[in-house]
């Protein structure tokens, strides 16, 4: 018994030492999509700065909820908070919350059509029609006219979408809402929607798995997932009329195209952005940072981190297949950081 008590005391002592060493600790929660780059950033920031940031990739919705409830110091989301959510935050906390874009991502159409190896071109009308269930055959003129050199089969299209709530779905449905009035009316945008047709797969890997196994299927996945797993995907016609394949430069171009009209609070959707080579299904992902911190040490560390992430930290993002923030946006964000008090 005595030995047990001794051990217990020792354990407590050790725990105390560990906590004492950790110094400043900031907690955050939210989007899963930027988690790989955030983990890398937080790790590097900890090494250079001593501040430990503990981030939990629990999903954008949960991130918004946790930062509103005050259980974490900051949140992260793939879709900007809507006006109701901002109002709820203000009522609960007495101050506002700010959005800071960190990196860019995109959603890409991927498909499995037996006998077709070529990269398929998709018009906005074709994508909206397919996901609404109106275009049901691969050789429908809406698809065939944009792919004249490919012979498409007369098979039924099987639509595959994400079954779990996700930022990728948000970007995809946000784009479809912009290019199709019908989609906006009937389905609209969100992390989970009431899909008119199709099968649901859990996560990027679930969607990819279903597409690989189901002949004549089409779905969407994150660009970084497609790039890292070498999944072929199609091009999408942008607002300038060019068929664009998603990559780091076309996604960045979508951001610079939109940055001229960037609102002060950074809550902007850059789907269907202008720009000759802008990839139309792109999006920012945001950090959600309260306007006011009670703990000034935390506030300074948080500001230092954001400043570092959007400047020096951008050097790490392309290795992980995220697109960099355009310079105009970075400059604007650096100014906005002074609002955090």
């Amino acid at each position: 018994m005595k030995r047990l008590t001794g051990l217990l005391a020792l354990a407590l002592l050790l725990a105390g030492v560990m906590f004492a060493q950790s110094g400043l600790m900031i907690t955050g929660a939210g989007a899963t999509f930027p988690n790989p780059i955030y983990s890398k950033w937080f790790d590097q920031f900890h090494k250079s700065n001593g501040t430990q940031i503990n981030y939990q990739p629990v999903g954008s919705g949960a991130g918004i909820k946790q930062v509103t409830d005050g259980t974490v110091d900051f949140g992260a989301s793939d879709g900007p908070m809507n006006d109701d959510q901002l109002k709820a935050y203000r009522t609960k906390n007495g101050v506002g919350i700010l959005h800071f874009p960190t990196v860019l991502g995109a959603a890409v159409p991927t498909y499995n059509v037996p006998g077709v190896d070529a990269t398929l071109n998709f018009t906005p009308e074709a994508l909206a029609g397919i996901f609404l269930g109106r275009i049901s055959k691969w050789n429908d003129p809406a698809i065939a006219n944009a792919n004249k050199s490919v012979s498409l089969p007369a098979n039924d299209i099987v639509v595959i979408h994400r079954s779990d709530g996700s930022g990728t779905t948000y970007i995809w449905t946000d784009y479809l809402s912009k290019v199709s009035a019908d989609w906006k009316d009937k389905v609209s945008k969100g992390t989970s929607v009431n899909w008119p047709v199709g099968l649901g797969g859990k996560g990027n890997e679930g969607v990819t798995g279903l597409i690989k196994q189901t002949p004549n299927s089409i779905g969407y996945v994150e660009l970084i997932y497609a790039a890292q797993n070498k999944i072929p995907f199609g091009t999408v016609k942008n607002s300038a009329g060019t068929f664009v394949k998603a990559d780091l430069s076309t996604v960045s171009e979508a951001a610079s195209g939109a940055s001229k009209t960037m609102p002060e609070d950074f809550r902007v959707s850059i789907t269907n952005a202008p720009g000759k080579n802008a990839y139309p299904i792109s999006s920012f992902t945001w950090l959600l940072i309260p306007e006011k911190f009670k703990d000034t040490a935390k506030r300074d560390a948080m500001k230092n981190f954001v400043k570092w992430a959007i400047t020096d930290g951008q050097g790490d993002v392309e290795a992980l297949s995220y697109a960099k923030l355009p310079k105009e946006v970075v400059d604007k964000e650096l100014k906005a950081l002074s609002k955090v008090q």
Partner: protein
């Protein structure tokens, strides 16, 4: 606890013979108290669980009321929520699973307990116990890579060709769907049925078998008409366990059911189950009514398990009353 024991010392003959203090010293009273707390915590946990689910789902109850159970629409954007498609999917997949797993499982248990030599039975039992311990995500992967392709290329075309006149086996087969989920669930619950049923069959007293054999029945007659009916309650218990597992299974079902909130007469059609939709949508759910509707789905699953278990127990009571005589031999 302690005081009640003092006031009614005659309630238990052992209590009467020794004073409370001596029982305390020898540890009896302490053991009793501790085990009582452990037992009570189970009840407390259940009550707490229902209570938490209930208070955390007040909004949809106010807004949708009982319509929640009979509405098919699940639209997070329009904030319209109904549980019918999920309830349907949960029941259908579990039913398919039990239809496949019960005959297979009980048959295997009879072989292992009654007919197989011990040299065969013991190693096989080891493998079955091993199967029961495999995490469900592994069964999901098995479903994705083996059952889904098999369903699309072999099982569905064969069933359509032979039983295609029944609506259950019509319509396009994508590979994912109710039937695939049912098969994967069946594979998951069979080890439970075999393991528990085998134990129960082995515990049937030897003289029951010997009496049947002495009366001139063959080995199979003794097994089927005496041993199995004797063990019926335990076998039903194994089926409850399997049902509970099938109703609540999340990961494996999510991977193979197709995640489409729809009710279809075809078993090949994609569907959705309660556990799967909670797992899929809870993390990214925004808006109070959305989250609370998902929590209410949890409550519905709890209720469903409760009702189905109750029905099964009732069925057992009824059949036990009818077949109470052993004169069937």
């Amino acid at each position: 606890m302690a005081t009640s024991s003092i006031h009614v010392p005659s309630a238990n003959p052992v209590d009467g013979s020794r004073s409370f203090l001596s029982r305390l010293r020898s540890g009896d009273e302490i053991a009793r108290l501790i085990t009582f707390i452990f037992a009570a915590s189970v009840v407390l946990l259940t009550v707490l669980l229902v209570y938490e689910l209930w208070i955390a789902s007040s909004l949809p109850r106010q807004k949708f009321g009982l319509a929640f159970f009979v509405t098919k629409l699940w639209d997070p954007i329009a904030e319209q929520f109904g549980a019918l498609t999920f309830i349907y999917g949960t029941i259908v997949t579990s039913a398919v699973a039990l239809l496949i797993a019960v005959p297979l499982g009980i048959g295997a248990a009879i072989f292992l307990a009654e007919l197989a030599p011990q040299k065969v039975s013991d190693p096989l039992q080891f493998f079955i116990d091993l199967l029961a311990a495999v995490p469900s995500v592994i069964y999901g992967v098995l479903g994705v890579f083996i059952v889904i392709p098999l369903m699309r290329t072999v099982i569905a075309p064969t069933l359509k060709a032979t039983l295609g006149f029944i609506p259950l086996f019509q319509g396009p087969a994508y590979g994912v769907g109710f039937f695939t989920a049912g098969i994967v669930l069946a594979i998951m619950v069979i080890p439970y049925i075999i393991s528990v049923s085998r134990e129960v069959l082995l515990s049937v007293p030897r003289d029951q078998r010997e009496a049947a054999l002495a009366l001139g029945s063959t080995r199979w007659e003794a097994t089927w008409k005496v041993v199995v009916p004797f063990a019926r309650t335990g076998i039903m218990g194994s089926i409850f366990l399997a049902l509970a597992r099938a109703l609540g299974e999340t990961m494996a079902v999510t991977m193979v059911i197709g995640n489409t909130p729809a009710i279809s007469s075809s078993l090949f059609a994609p569907g959705y189950s309660i556990a799967a939709v909670i797992a899929n949508e809870f993390t990214e759910a925004t808006g109070d009514i959305y989250i609370q509707s998902l929590i209410q789905l949890g409550l519905v699953l709890f209720l469903l398990t409760f009702i189905l278990n109750g029905l099964a127990r009732l069925l057992m009571l009824l059949t036990a009353a009818r077949g109470s005589g052993t004169g069937r031999v």
